[in-house]
């Protein structure tokens, strides 16, 4: 299925948010995930499923003033 991931169109096979993060080799502890503009609590990554056309944002901390 195709999703919009951080503004880029991507084809993914992950079924849940947790699987998506694992497939991208991202440590869930240091990121925040937004699914269709809804910020997900980390505890929900296991249960929240991804559907075709979803818009997902994964953010983290970078250097800034």
């Amino acid at each position: 299925m195709n999703i919009a991931l951080n503004g880029e169109s991507r084809s993914v096979s992950a079924r849940t948010v947790k699987e998506l993060l694992e497939s991208l080799d991202i440590d869930s502890k240091r990121v925040a995930v937004e699914l269709n503009m809804e910020i997900l609590p980390k505890a929900d990554y296991v249960t929240r499923t991804i559907a075709d056309g979803d818009r997902i944002e994964i953010v983290h901390f970078v250097g800034g003033g």
Binding site: D25, R30, I39, E57, I58, F61, V62, G63, G64, G65
Partner: protein, 258 residues
């Protein structure tokens, strides 16, 4: 005197009154060394999309997170909605309620958009965030932010990244008399004396990024700022002499040779 002198923000105590940003350094390694030299305990970070190709190492991999309190900012936000969204994401990513709230008015000056700032601050305080807003050096604005429930106010000394120093020390003094929460000068510092001046005015802290990261030797400048903030604070606590137009001799007039 200096050892018992602590900065208290929302009930949390800090021995360092210098807060530093982590942007614009040549490398993560340089950032880590500058942070160490600055003695800062609170460091700002920005919230951005993860780089999906994962080619760059992350800043947080390079610094000792036990040493620092992360203060996520809302840099680049021009509306209250964007700033609130960024703070909520930051809380989820960092598991902390501390946020440096900035809502900008335009790209050229990066001056705060005060109406949107107040709007965002109200929402965030209600949601339990510890809000440290970057604001104009306007005592009325600072009073409003305090009334809303912000944990500190962070008036600018001069435009972000300008290095112009504290352009309106009189406003900063009035702000210090107006609010009871900590006043932290955020933005405008160019060199060590600027930081010392802010502290001598009685400010509770100083936040800077470019003055350190943009210096020819950022690690040395970080140490200079560390010393300047401590020197300025000590001088404030010590109480300076009044300014006088004419001289007063330091040596006794008695016993002069005739």
């Amino acid at each position: 005197m200096a050892n018992s002198d602590k900065l208290v923000i929302a009930g949390r105590e800090f021995t360092s009154r210098l807060m530093v940003g982590t942007g614009k350094y040549a490398s993560n390694e340089e950032t880590a060394r500058a942070l160490e030299a600055s003695g800062a305990q609170i460091i700002t970070v920005a919230v951005r999309r993860v780089n999906l190709d994962r080619s760059k190492e992350s800043l947080l991999d390079c610094i000792d997170l036990k040493k620092y309190t992360l203060l996520p900012n809302t840099a680049g936000c021009y509306t209250a909605d964007d700033a609130v969204r960024t703070c909520r994401l930051a809380r989820e990513a960092g598991m902390s309620d501390f946020v440096k709230l900035e809502v900008l008015g335009d790209e050229k000056t990066l001056f705060p958009e005060n109406e949107e700032l107040l709007k965002a601050a109200k929402i965030l305080v209600k949601e339990g965030f510890t809000v440290l807003p970057y604001t104009s050096d306007d005592p009325i604005m600072c009073r409003k932010l305090e009334d809303i429930g912000c944990a500190a106010v962070m008036p600018l000394g001069a435009p972000i990244g300008s290095g112009l120093g504290i352009r309106n020390p009189y406003n900063i003094r009035i702000i210090l008399e107006t609010v009871k929460i900590p006043v932290i000068v955020d933005a405008g510092v160019g060199t060590a004396s600027d930081a010392a001046i802010a502290m001598e005015l009685g400010c509770h802290g100083v936040l800077m990024n470019t003055a350190i990261a943009g210096a020819k030797n950022p690690v040395a400048m970080a140490e200079a700022m560390n010393l300047a903030v401590r020197a300025g604070r000590l001088a404030y606590l010590a109480g300076r002499i009044p300014r006088k137009l004419y001289a007063t001799a330091s040596s006794p007039l008695e016993g002069l040779l005739e």
